[in-house]
């Protein structure tokens, strides 16, 4: 009886292993074709030259005036915004998990914090211009411009809006796995409030906060929509790359070099993220522990998050207002003319359909690949 049952079982095992192997190879091929090959070609292009040594292009790019300042600018802008984003995202997540504010308000925070994900980054640039620019909505309301938006300030705000949803989701998610019972233990053992905060919230989140910083950094570092709209004279690597590849005189070789340079921090980031896995919060049985009553904390957090959300929503409100204005900022009369034009434009309609199709297929493929 036993020997007969063993053979079909063995066959099933081998078959399932073959299925796994096939799927593994399919995914591997996908990655090879669509990721590894293009990067390899990029690498080749950066070395390829007609009649010069293989490092000619690198020298050209590295000695070009403004290249290294662009590199420095990129690091400064991306690093600065990553820091700001991580702090803001932490405060938002903390408010949701550790205060006693009304649930409706917390829900609004949760939705509002991820809203920017819905739009392409170049939109933020325009939204910023329309809100804070010389003829912007806020400038007109206040009577004067709050700050110059082209260059570093605009970049920072743009990057922060762009990376906030990602950072928030990361920190918010991990915070949910922290066992609040540690706060009870810490308090009973006589720890000061600051000690409790450090040992029960900050310490477990160290890995996540670092991951959030790194993630936000390389998202900002590689983005070009925001520098394209509000970058101004403040050159970053992404705008350089754009100029080389898609400027008036495309130079793919130089562009490839810049792309390689941009790849380095990204690869380092991924390695760092991998290393930080070990600091992840261990999953514990999630127990419902009430938050300690603290009016001051609640009020402060509530006001802070409220302001943050209002600012973010304001920036997006412009996007909804401006299409209905005849000609911003000169003719501020209401009109549906622009809206009608867009919907009647055949080219735009086709482009829209294409976008939907591409997005849909990408999502399917990603879902399929990540499932295995």
């Amino acid at each position: 009886m036993k020997k007969e049952a063993l053979l079909p079982k063995l066959k099933r095992m081998i078959r399932s292993h073959i299925e796994l192997k096939l799927i593994f190879f399919a995914v591997l091929t996908l990655f090879l074709f669509f990721l590894a090959a293009p990067i390899a070609m990029l690498l080749l292009k950066s070395f390829q030259s007609s009649g010069g040594a293989f490092w000619t292009h690198y020298i050209e790019v590295f000695t070009r005036s403004g290249f290294w300042s662009a590199v420095g600018n990129s690091f400064l802008a991306a690093g600065g915004s990553a820091l700001i984003t991580t702090v803001l995202a932490f405060l938002l997540a903390y408010t949701i998990h550790y205060t006693n504010l009304p649930h409706g308000f917390l829900k609004i925070i949760r939705t509002g914090a991820v809203l920017p994900m819905l739009l392409p980054t170049i939109t933020y640039g325009f939204a910023l211009i329309y809100t804070f620019g010389k003829q912007g909505l806020l400038t007109r309301i206040l009577g004067h411009q709050l700050f110059p938006i082209y260059g570093l300030p605009g970049l920072l705000i743009g990057y922060v809006i762009y990376t906030l949803p990602v950072a928030f989701l990361l920190i918010h998610n991990t915070m949910g796995y922290i066992d609040k019972k540690f706060m009870v233990v810490s308090a009973l053992m006589g720890d000061k409030k600051s000690e409790t905060f450090f040992i029960t919230i900050l310490r477990p989140l160290t890995g996540t906060l670092a991951a959030s910083f790194i993630q936000s950094f390389f998202l900002a570092f590689t983005d070009f929509g925001i520098p394209a709209s509000v970058g101004g004279q403040y050159e970053v690597l992404a705008s350089l790359l754009y100029d080389e590849m898609l400027g008036s005189i495309p130079d793919f070789n130089k562009g490839a070099v810049i792309a390689m340079v941009m790849l380095v921090p990204s690869v380092l980031s991924i390695l760092l993220l991998h290393y930080l896995e070990r600091y992840n919060v261990r999953y514990n049985k999630i127990s419902a522990v009430e938050n300690e009553k603290n009016r001051i904390r609640d009020v402060f957090c509530g006001i802070f998050c409220g302001i943050l959300l209002v600012v973010m929503l304001l920036i997006f409100a412009v996007i909804f207002l401006v299409p209905f204005v005849q000609e911003w900022p000169y003719q501020l009369t209401f009109t549906t003319e622009h809206v009608r034009e867009v919907f009647q434009d055949r080219v735009l309609a086709d482009v829209f359909k294409n976008s939907l199709l591409v997005a849909f297929l990408t999502a399917c493929k990603t879902r399929f690949s990540s499932h295995f």
Partner: protein, 189 residues
């Protein structure tokens, strides 16, 4: 209910009186009670010894070095002092949590389902240790459990709460022989 006694949850009505003193509005840290949680809540970044003496960093005079050593011996934790928390078994973690709480010399010891994560021989051994600790230190101990057998074999008095109301409060023998609500005890586990 443990939350109420401990002070995590605010009391809506009624009073909390201990040894003649009204503790209703006294904050949690000042009540002098301490708790051993069901999942132990041991700090994962510290080793066993550091966890046990954690409270002493803020209250260095709460227990003397000899008393700390005595507690460690009582709970057979000498060989585990250098180990990281994740290297310990459930029963060992339970003992460490108990030691950590006992070092603080609480006026009342609260325990939240202390035996539910254990079974077999370890369970019985921890049961004995709890009884021993309570007796040795004349410590009022309040244990919350869903297991009627645990409650009846471990305690001097049992308080049964059914649907949010007190159903009975008596010695185990009385509850077994004269139950007010027989349906509760003989439900399948």
């Amino acid at each position: 209910m443990l939350n109420l006694i401990l002070g995590i949850t605010e009391i809506d009505s009624g009073k909390l009186i201990f040894n003649g003193k009204d503790l209703t509005d006294v904050p949690m840290e000042k009540r002098g009670f301490n708790i051993v949680f069901q999942d132990y809540a041991l700090f994962p970044n510290l080793n066993t010894y550091e966890n046990i003496v954690y409270g002493l960093k803020n209250n260095p005079d709460r227990s003397t070095k000899e008393e700390v050593g005595e507690m460690i011996r009582l709970l057979n934790l000498e060989e585990h002092l250098d180990k990281k928390i994740e290297q310990l078994s459930g029963g060992q973690k339970q003992r460490v949590a108990l030691a950590r709480t006992m070092i603080m010399k609480p006026k009342v010891l609260l325990m939240d389902e202390p035996l539910s994560a254990l079974d077999g021989v370890i369970k019985e051994s921890i049961k004995e240790r709890i009884k021993m600790i309570a007796r040795e230190f004349h410590l009022t101990t309040i244990i919350v459990t869903h297991d009627p057998e645990e409650a009846l074999t471990l305690s001097d008095r049992v308080l049964i709460i059914n649907n949010g109301k007190i159903s009975q409060f008596a010695r185990p023998e009385e509850i077994i022989h004269h139950p007010d609500n027989p349906g509760i005890y003989f439900k399948p586990a």
